[in-house]
Each structure stands twice: as structure tokens, then as C-alpha cells.
């Protein structure tokens, strides 16, 4: 090792750039070379610098006070602020209370667990932090908060037993709650069940409503301040430590973020004046987190969180938890509106709304979803955005039972532009204006067609125009027909290969004598194509469902259609079963005023059936196979059953949306809507798109079970093996539906069987008849 004095080496040493060897050598050298020691000190700033550093870095008493809060310990606290106690098990005494433990410490105060000797109960004491206790301002604020909180009497707001604003350390006495905070619960198991989310949310809102009555804004609603009491599961809002009268904005503490940023409202983040609606935003954040497991605005830094709160829309609830009903997303998103005016008006409104939703979830048969949410839920449907392909086929055994086989087929808006002809409408010309939107004209009947038995021709169609709009939800075109700028007649139609079928109604405002028929079917053929061109398919063999995808109308289709039509056209004659069944099952419900007759219902339902084929079973039983557009068919069924389009859509939505887990909500909604008149249930097994069970009708046949079993057994053994659930459900008995039963069966491989029966002896609910 050399022993040379080197300025360069010393410079490198000070800058910490020596190699390990150089370092060791230098240590050695410095032991012997005072000159180098002095040079190195000079390089490090010199004597003057060292002196200044020594002076300024030494801590003094004030520094100790500055960091007092962080050095504070339970022991220090007990020694300094508590009276000694004769009981060895307690930390000390405070104002007649035995302090048992220090529970927590916040920005303003300390929370102690204590025993009230007089009332023999354990309480929580919240006291002003000692370092704030000699500020009159802090004392005033503490007392004001305590008194404001004490004025709120509500089971969901922490009670204040006693306030002691004077004395060395002001404190207040609260009940000591057993349980956990919502933050703790979310940490251990998030997300929570929807019922639990609603139950907790409703109680928070109720507590906030009570605080609101006192002009109190909590300002810090967050999971850590929501206490869930053990056993009775009561929710209590705690820590109004930041709460203060809404008009008192001046005392916001500097150096402390007033409110937890993650749950802050935009107006709070901007430092603007607040009212109770600020807490509603925070409540929205809490609901969001409970339901999805993540808080909506969480970011890596406080600043980023604040920016997100003010500028960004959080990820949609449905994107994180698609199983949640749309109405829930609506509630949360409305609470999270950036503008307070767009949120709900008050915490009380929210509490009532959540309560109604909760009762609905718990007792769907007797409590409807709040009306304000039903339409909202429908607006938010997302199902039809997803592109699904499939086909639905149904089987029916006429006279005994209807069986359906399901496959799946989705349809894009079809092209119906061009020329069409029909006896009643003459030549119809349709022009596409935009995708799915058509305008057209028709020439009307060339010669009057006798429409009724009396030979009147009052309903002969006069020339006019048409406007049609593709309805994605109903999978058909809907619109108006008539003369003038605003045609009033309603029309609804669907394309079937070379034919358009549908129904139309005469406007209500036409004189009675000119419109004896309210609703009629229509059938337009491609111009130049007649019904003779349609391929006729007749299948005597029952094959797998996959094979039954013929597009052309078979003789059975026409026969079945005629059956339906004949009944639709003559209401007083309900004898043929299939239509009677639809008519009996779906009560008249006035919705838009035009399609509310049973005949209209049957007629519209018919439209969703694309094809009907007949099969003969070995024992001579007839099975009809119906090929239907699944969406429109279910839509019709749901619509007929509920009489409310938005509810029907919600049912469909719930049934058909992305299949992640079982969706029982749709069924609950349906049950709820129909109440004691349950005529239809939809069950979703969550496997893939099509394990549904739909029971829609009743048929008059007591001996259906053996036949049904035979039918399954006859199916080359395949169907019977596939059957995984078959059961009989009886609706509640009453004068009109006594003895009626429904059956349904679900089968794997995305196929569906459904049917119904009328039993001589009612079958008990849920009894299995086939494994």
C-alpha cells in the first residue's frame, strides 16, 4: 500500500467514489497523516461549515415539542394525564371512569376503553389530544362536535352519553361497541352480498339523514367509520370527528386532509362549501366498494385520487360485477354524480330507496322493485350489445303437452327493403333510410276484402305510408302506418325468409264504425314470389334438435298458424288448446293500449314462431316442434306474462346476459311481478347460454306424466339420459287455477324442454317426477 498524500484521493473519498482497496489504504494513511485529515475536512466544507451544521442540527426543546405527537405512548399518556387507580388492572382514572386501555388515536383525539363505575358498564371515552387541550379554539371545536353529534339521536349514529367540555382534558363518553368496522369486514371478505350491501347502505343513509336534520355534514364517510355491531348486525356511523355544522367552513385544519381522499366528494376535494349531498357521494363510494370489492377512485397518490374524484368517471359497476342488477348500478352511479344536484336529493331519499330495494330482494313475491328503478333498469340493458349466435327450437305435444327444444340463433337487423305484395296492403315498397330504419308506401287493397263474416269491408286499407324502426330488444320492426305526416296506425313485423309477417292495429282515434277490428295479422310476400314457391318440409322423424333448422314453412307450420290465427280472429271460441293456453295464462294487461287483448297476445306470440313441425311418437302421441327466434319468443312470453315491457326486458336481460354465475334475479323479478298469478318461471343454471327452464302454459291432460316419461324414453335414450332436472310446480290454488300444474325440464347441451299440464290432483310444489 502506498502512503502518498493525494488530494485527488481525498476528493474521491469525500464524494464516496473510492474502491474498497483505496478506502482501506486511506483509513490507514489518515491514522498517520494529520495534514491529509485537515485537507479532507477542508474539502468537506471547512471549519465554518462544520460549526454551522453542529449548531443547526442540534435538537432543542422546541424540536421535542414539534414531534411530541409521534413520540406519544400509552405509558406517557397514563402517567401524564390519568389519575392513579387502586386497581392494578386499569391504566388509571379519568373523571370517575376506570381507563382499561387505549383503543385508538386520531388527529384530534384519543379513544379509551373505560369502565363506568356508577352505571356499571363499559364505555368508550374520546378525549381531546393533550397537545391540543390548551388551545381554546380546539376545545371549542371539540365541544361543538360532541354536542352536534349528541344532538343526533338515531340508532345508526353513535350515541353520546355525556360530554365533559371543561377540565384538563375535555372528553365525551360513548357506548363501546362490539363488532368490527366495515373496513375490516371488506378486508376479510369483499365483495359483499347484494342484500348485505343494501342493508348496510340503507342504515348508513338513515344515519346520515338524521345528521342532516341537525345540519351536520359528516365529511368523512368511509368504511373505517362505519361500525358493524356484532350479533344484531346494526350499522353505526362513528367518528363525527371531522363533522361540523355545514356553515362553519372556516375551521378546516391546514396540514390535514379534511376527509379521507378516497371517499371524498368532488366539491370537498375542491375545498368548496359542502352540504349533506357531499356525504351521499361518499356513501356511493362505500356502496361501490362493498359491491365490487374495490374503491372507485383509488390511486397511487393522494393527488391522483383527488384528480380522479374530480375529473374521472369510475369503472362501471357492471364491468366489475356483472351479476349485479342494473338498478343497483344506477343507484351507485347516481350517487357518484360529480354535480351534487344530480345526486339524490337527500340521505332520507336514499335510505328509503335502499330499504325498498332490500325488501324487494328479500320478498320478491310481495314487494315490487321501486318504480323509479324499474324504468332505469330497463334503460341500462346491455344484453343486445353482445353478439350471440344460436337458434331456438321448440317442441310441443298438442293436446297433452308442449315440449320445447332450444338452440340458439341471434339475428342481425335484416334487410327488408324492396317490393312486397299482399292482398290487403297491395304493393308495399320499403326503402332503407338508415340501418334498421325504413320508410315506405303501400297502395292498399286493390279490391275490398270481406274482413268479417258479415261481409263488411270497412277495414279495407287505403293507400298510405309506413315508417319502420328496428327494435333491437324485440327483434322486429315496429312503426306506424297511415296517411299524412304522422301516421297513427301501429304495425309490427318480422322478416321470415321471403315473407314478412306481423300484426297491425287501426288507430284508436278512428271512428268505431270504420274500424271494427282492432288488430290483424299481415303477411307480405316478396314481390313476384307466391306462397307456392315456399319449400315444403315434412319431417316424420324426430331427430336431434340440431337438425331442425329448416327455414321454410312446413304444412304443420301453416296448420298450426291457422289454428292460432283462427282463435286470434274469433275471441269467443277458445277451444283449441294452444291458444287458449296462452290466453288463459297471460291476463289482459293494458300497456300501450293497442296490444292488450288475448288475441293480440297470441298473435304476437305466434310471430315469434318461425316454424312448426310435427312428429309422431311411438305411442301415437303427436309432438310439435316449434322453431322460434329465442329472443323474441322469450320476449313475447315475458311481455305477455308481465304486461310491462321494461320488466320483460329486465327479465330477459337477467336471463340472457353474459352467463357468469346463476342469475336468479330475473326469476325473482318475474315472481314478484306476477305475485300469486305465477304463470311463468325462468330458471337459469349459469352453465352456458341456454340452460333455462320456462314454464308457460297449462294443458288439459291428467295422464301427462306417463306420456311424458314415455316420450323421453322413446327419444333414442338420449334425451332421457340428458335430463337432469324435471319437476312439477303447482301455482297457488285459487278459483281459477286450481288443479293446474306446470312442468319443466332442463337438459344439458343447451337444449330446453318445457311444457305444462293440468292435473286432476294438484301436485305439490317442486315434487320431482323424474330423475
Amino acid at each position: 500500500m502506498n502512503d502518498v498524500c493525494s488530494i485527488e484521493l481525498l476528493t474521491k473519498a469525500v464524494a464516496n467514489r473510492l474502491t474498497a482497496d483505496e478506502e482501506t489504504a486511506l483509513y490507514d494513511h489518515l491514522e498517520r497523516c494529520d495534514a491529509c485529515c485537515a485537507r479532507m475536512e477542508q474539502l468537506a466544507g471547512g471549519q465554518h461549515w462544520q460549526q454551522e451544521a453542529a449548531t443547526l442540527l442540534v435538537k432543542d426543546d422546541l424540536d421535542a415539542e414539534v414531534s411530541e405527537a409521534s413520540r406519544w405512548s400509552d405509558v406517557d399518556f397514563s402517567v401524564e394525564h390519568l389519575e392513579p387507580s387502586d386497581d392494578a388492572n386499569v391504566l388509571g382514572q379519568l373523571g370517575g371512569y376506570d381507563v382499561l386501555a387505549v383503543i385508538g388515536r386520531g388527529g384530534m383525539g384519543i379513544v379509551l376503553k373505560a369502565f363506568d363505575r356508577e352505571l356499571k358498564r363499559v364505555v368508550a371515552i374520546k378525549l381531546l389530544s393533550p397537545h391540543l387541550a390548551h388551545s381554546s379554539m380546539a376545545r371549542k371545536r371539540f365541544a361543538r362536535e360532541a354536542q352536534a353529534t349528541a344532538a343526533v339521536v338515531n340508532p345508526h349514529v353513535i350515541a353520546i352519553h355525556h360530554v365533559q367540555p371543561t377540565g384538563r382534558l375535555p372528553f365525551l363518553i360513548m357506548p363501546l361497541l362490539a363488532g368490527e368496522t366495515l373496513a375490516q369486514r371488506l378486508k376479510s371478505r369483499a365483495p359483499l352480498e347484494l342484500t348485505e350491501v343494501l342493508r348496510i347502505g340503507m342504515q348508513i343513509a338513515s344515519g346520515l339523514a338524521a345528521a342532516d336534520d341537525q345540519g351536520l355534514v359528516h365529511r368523512d364517510v368511509k368504511p373505517a367509520n362505519i361500525f358493524l355491531e356484532k350479533g344484531i348486525e346494526r350499522v353505526v356511523i362513528t367518528d363525527f370527528g371531522l363533522a361540523r355544522a355545514a356553515d362553519d367552513v372556516s375551521m378546516t385544519r391546514m396540514g390535514v386532509v379534511a376527509g379521507t381522499p378516497e371517499y371524498m366528494s368532488p366539491e370537498q376535494a375542491r375545498g368548496e362549501a359542502l352540504d349533506g349531498r357531499s356525504d351521499l357521494f361518499s356513501l356511493g363510494c362505500v356502496l361501490y366498494e362493498m359491491a365490487t370489492g374495490v374503491s372507485p377512485f383509488r390511486s397511487e397518490s393522494t393527488l391522483a385520487t383527488l384528480r380522479r374524484i374530480v375529473d374521472e368517471k369510475p369503472a362501471a359497476v357492471a364491468s366489475l360485477a356483472p351479476e349485479l342488477p342494473p338498478w343497483f348500478s344506477y343507484i351507485v352511479e347516481r350517487l357518484l354524480s360529480k354535480a351534487p344536484a344530480q345526486r339524490f336529493a337527500s340521505a332520507r331519499d336514499v335510505s328509503q330507496l335502499l330499504e325498498a330495494c332490500l325488501s324487494h330482494l328479500q320478498q320478491p313475491t310481495s314487494v315490487p322493485l321501486p318504480a323509479s328503478l324499474v324504468s332505469r333498469a330497463a334503460e341500462r340493458r346491455s344484453f343486445f350489445n353482445s353478439a350471440r349466435k344460436g337458434k331456438l327450437t321448440m317442441l310441443g305435444t298438442c293436446g297433452i303437452v308442449l315440449l320445447g327444444m332450444v338452440m340458439w340463433q341471434a339475428t342481425d337487423p335484416p334487410d327488408i327493403s324492396g317490393k312486397w305484395t299482399s292482398d290487403e296492403w297491395g304493393t308495399v315498397v320499403l326503402n332503407a333510410k338508415e340501418p334498421g330504419q325504413y320508410e315506405g308506401t303501400y297502395t292498399g287493397a286493390e279490391e275490398a276484402q270481406p274482413a268479417n263474416d258479415d261481409g263488411s269491408n270497412a277495414s279495407a286499407i287505403q293507400p298510405g305510408n309506413l315508417r319502420l324502426q328496428w327494435s333491437a330488444t324485440e327483434r322486429r320492426f315496429k312503426g306506424n302506418w297511415g296517411t299524412g305526416e304522422a301516421p297513427k296506425g301501429m304495425i309490427s313485423l318480422r322478416l321470415y325468409d321471403k315473407e314478412i309477417r306481423g300484426a297491425w292495429s287501426t288507430p284508436d282515434d278512428l271512428p268505431k264504425d270504420t274500424s271494427p277490428r282492432k288488430l290483424m295479422d299481415l303477411s307480405w310476400k316478396r314481390s313476384g314470389v307466391t306462397s307456392n314457391d315456399l319449400e315444403v318440409v315434412h319431417d316424420n322423424e324426430m331427430k336431434n334438435g340440431q337438425k331442425s333448422s329448416h327455414k321454410k314453412a312446413s304444412p304443420e307450420t301453416n296448420a298450426f298458424r291457422k289454428l292460432f290465427e283462427s282463435i286470434a280472429a274469433s275471441p269467443p271460441n277458445p277451444s283449441p288448446l294452444p291458444v287458449k293456453l296462452f290466453r288463459d295464462c297471460f291476463p289482459r294487461k293494458s300497456n300501450d293500449g293497442t296490444t292488450d287483448s288475448p288475441d293480440a297476445n297470441a298473435s304476437f306470440l305466434l310471430q315469434s314462431i318461425e316454424q312448426i313441425r310435427r312428429h309422431e311418437l311411438p305411442d301415437g302421441m303427436m309432438v310439435y316442434e316449434l322453431t322460434v327466434d329465442p329472443l323474441s319468443f322469450f320476449q313475447e312470453v315475458c311481455l305477455l306474462a308481465t304486461g310491462d315491457k321494461s320488466i320483460a326486458e329486465e327479465i330477459l336481460d337477467g336471463l340472457l346476459r353474459d352467463p357468469v354465475g346463476p342469475r336468479i334475479d330475473a326469476r325473482q323479478v318475474l315472481r314478484n311481478q306476477l305475485g300469486n298469478q305465477v304463470k311463468l318461471t325462468c330458471q337459469f343454471h349459469g352453465d352456458r347460454e341456454f340452460d333455462y327452464m320456462v314454464e308457460i302454459a297449462l294443458v288439459d291432460e291428467a295422464a301427462f306424466v306417463p306420456n311424458f316419461q314415455r316420450f323421453f324414453e322413446s327419444e333414442e335414450g338420449v334425451l332421457a339420459n340428458d335430463t337432469k332436472d324435471l319437476y312439477v310446480v303447482t301455482p297457488p290454488s285459487g278459483p281459477t287455477n286450481q288443479g293446474r300444474g306446470f312442468f319443466g325440464a332442463t337438459v344439458r347441451n343447451h337444449r330446453l324442454y318445457w311444457g305444462s299440464l293440468k292435473m286432476v290432483d294438484p301436485v305439490r310444489n317442486g315434487r320431482r317426477i323424474l330423475e
Partner: protein, 199 residues
């Protein structure tokens, strides 16, 4: 002080520039203890000093819009410090009659006054500021160094013990102690100069 100096949310939010945001955090870290200490030295109680300190920061934060409008005047850091310094010094000058009636209106007026000239108050406060900068710089440097290096520095440079004694206590050579001391002092100077130049 608060363990991690955080700032009022509304203020943070107004500082859209992340560099400005850092500048603010640094500003608070340096000015908070300086103001607090200065106020305590003027005879204020702990809680009152804290309240007043908050008021100063609120007053400064209210002026941030002015900064946004006059950015050409220099760095945000420099602006912040000028405003705060003027505010505190002017307050100290008038403290006799304002003591605890320190309201928002007054604050605005005070801040609008001409920059504080060299006066006993400004000299006192500048000392506190420099001390605060040293404290903050030492915290930075301490975290960079090994505990042993830091201890060697502290014992020799601050507590004034001889390298030989410290070397024995820490189980290192006297040369290593000397190097450690100089290394920390040099680094400390770098950090202090950086912090000062930014003001």
C-alpha cells in the same frame, strides 16, 4: 409536526403541476417547523402556534391563483417562500397588536404589504428557515448513509467527540471515522445548497 406533512386537499388539487406539488410538500416541510418555532419563541402556546401556522399556510394557498397568473416571476418554490416569508415577518412585526386576532382579512392585507426589509424579525426568521433547511437536509442524508457512518458523523461533528473515542465505540478505525464525518458533511452541504438555491 404532523409525521408526514400533508396538505389541505383543495390546495393539492390546485397544484396541477406535479413539480409544483413536490415543491409544496418541500415548502411545508421546511416552513412548518420554522414558523412554528418562530411563533413559539414569540411566546405563543403550542396550540395557538399551530393554529396560526395553519392560517399562514391557508393564506399562502389562497394566493396560489396569483402565482398561476404570474408564472414568469420565477419558480413556484421561490414564489412560495417569498410569500410565506413576507407574511410571517410582517405578522411578527405587527404581532403585538394582532396576537390572537389573526383573521383571514388581516392575512391578506399583511401579505400584500411590501416585502420585509432586513429587520430583527426577518433576521430571526431567516435563521429559523436555515435551521429548518439543515434539519430537512440532514434527514435526507441520514437516510442515504449507513447507521454507523451517520453515527460516526454525529458523534464527531455535532457532539464534538474525538475520532479516536468514536472509533473505539463503533468498532471502526479512526481513519474510517474521519472519512465518514467528512463524507456526511460534504453531502449535507450539497443538499443544503440545493434546497437553498431553490428558494
Amino acid at each position: 409536526m404532523t409525521p408526514t406533512p400533508t396538505t389541505r386537499a383543495s390546495l393539492l388539487f390546485r397544484l396541477r403541476d406535479s413539480q409544483d406539488h413536490e415543491a409544496w410538500v418541500e415548502f411545508v416541510e421546511i416552513y412548518e417547523p420554522a414558523i412554528y418555532r418562530q411563533l413559539r419563541k414569540c411566546g405563543l402556546q403550542d396550540a395557538d402556534a399551530r393554529e396560526l401556522m395553519q392560517e399562514v399556510f391557508i393564506a399562502v394557498s389562497r394566493r396560489i391563483e396569483c402565482w398561476e397568473l404570474a408564472k414568469e416571476q420565477g419558480s413556484f418554490r421561490g414564489w412560495l417562500r417569498r410569500v410565506a416569508r413576507n407574511l410571517v415577518i410582517n405578522w411578527l412585526k405587527h404581532s403585538q397588536r394582532r396576537m390572537l386576532a389573526f383573521g383571514g382579512q388581516d392575512t391578506q392585507t399583511l401579505m400584500a404589504e411590501i416585502a420585509a426589509e432586513d429587520c430583527p424579525e426577518s433576521i430571526e426568521f431567516d435563521k429559523e428557515l436555515r435551521r429548518s433547511i439543515f434539519q430537512r437536509a440532514s434527514e435526507t442524508v441520514r437516510q442515504e448513509q449507513s447507521p454507523k457512518t451517520w453515527q460516526a458523523f454525529w458523534s464527531t461533528a455535532i457532539d464534538g467527540e474525538s475520532p479516536a473515542v468514536v472509533a473505539r465505540e463503533l468498532g471502526m478505525s479512526a481513519g474510517a471515522v474521519r472519512v465518514a464525518k467528512c463524507r456526511v458533511l460534504a453531502r449535507l452541504r450539497e443538499v443544503v445548497v440545493t434546497l437553498e438555491n431553490q428558494s
